[in-house]
């Protein structure tokens, strides 16, 4: 298996829905927390910094093919012999 084949990192269908929900959840919550903390402490740097931390956490949670994304593998029908 080449390196490019390994990095396909495929996940199943239910896992894709979970990954989609998680990207929205993580990024939106870190954006809101960052905005509030930055507003209170009067520093735009803190807002952007908290968001960058959230982005790194989201990268680690969503990109690799964790087992939670592969709990519902596709059930294929058994192969049948071709009839003449």
């Amino acid at each position: 298996m080449t390196l490019a084949d390994y990095f396909e990192w495929t996940i199943d269908f239910e896992g894709q829905g979970l990954a989609d929900q998680l990207t929205h959840l993580i990024l939106i919550s870190f954006a809101v927390i960052g905005f509030i903390v930055g507003y209170v402490s009067e520093s735009l740097l803190i807002t952007v910094g908290i968001f960058l931390v959230g982005l790194i956490i989201a990268t680690v949670v969503i990109l690799p093919p964790w087992p939670m994304y592969n709990r519902h593998p596709q059930k294929w029908l058994p192969s049948t012999k071709a009839t003449k």
Binding site: T10, T23, G38, T47
Partner: protein, 182 residues
């Protein structure tokens, strides 16, 4: 979202949307709430006013350039810019402007001096005996006893959003710009 490339694409594009929304919100809040007005005090000692007739340029030897009347003065400046520094303030550009009327033009404004304030710590200005950085010359190249009034202008550069600024009203400064001696 099936493979890495699709998930990375969705993740980073949503991240850009999210940070763009935060920054747009910051810019909107700044443009709605604005920046406060500053009170300032500019004092000019009329004894420091000098007018000389000379050519432009440090060499002074380009005899093709005509001579102009250059006015030079020194002033004291007291202004506190700390209320202007909020989370969206990157720097404040401060200028001192001399305004006067002349026979040929109703309004003349000449920038005498400027500075850039980059942080809240250096925002409280208490400066004494500042000479004008830039030439105080009239368009007609001669002074004929105009009275100049000084005012303080500022422009706020935000991190995100529109540039906003303000100025103090002109204070009559008792400077009469007379012709040069020679």
């Amino acid at each position: 979202m099936y493979n890495l490339q699709q998930r990375a694409n969705v993740l980073f594009s949503f991240a850009i949307t999210a940070i763009g929304t935060i920054l747009a919100l910051v810019a909107t809040i700044s443009s709605i709430s604005g920046y406060p007005c500053i009170e300032s005090d500019i004092k000019v000692d009329s004894n420091t006013l000098r007018v000389v007739s000379r050519r432009y340029g440090p060499d002074y030897y380009d005899y093709g350039t005509p001579k102009s009347h250059f006015a030079r003065l020194a002033f004291d400046l007291d202004a506190d810019f700390t209320p202007i520094f909020n989370w969206n303030t990157k720097q404040v550009f401060v200028t001192v402007i001399a305004e006067y009327e002349s026979k040929t033009h109703d309004r003349n404004s000449v920038v005498l001096w400027d500075t850039i304030i980059k942080s809240k710590e250096e925002a409280n200005l208490n400066l004494r005996n500042i000479a004008n950085k830039y030439a105080l010359v009239d368009v007609s190249r001669k002074w004929s006893h105009q009275q100049a009034n000084l005012s303080l202008h500022w422009d706020v550069t935000p991190y995100v959003g529109l540039i906003q600024g303000g100025h103090t009203p002109s204070q009559p400064a008792n400077i009469i710009l007379s012709p040069a001696a020679t």
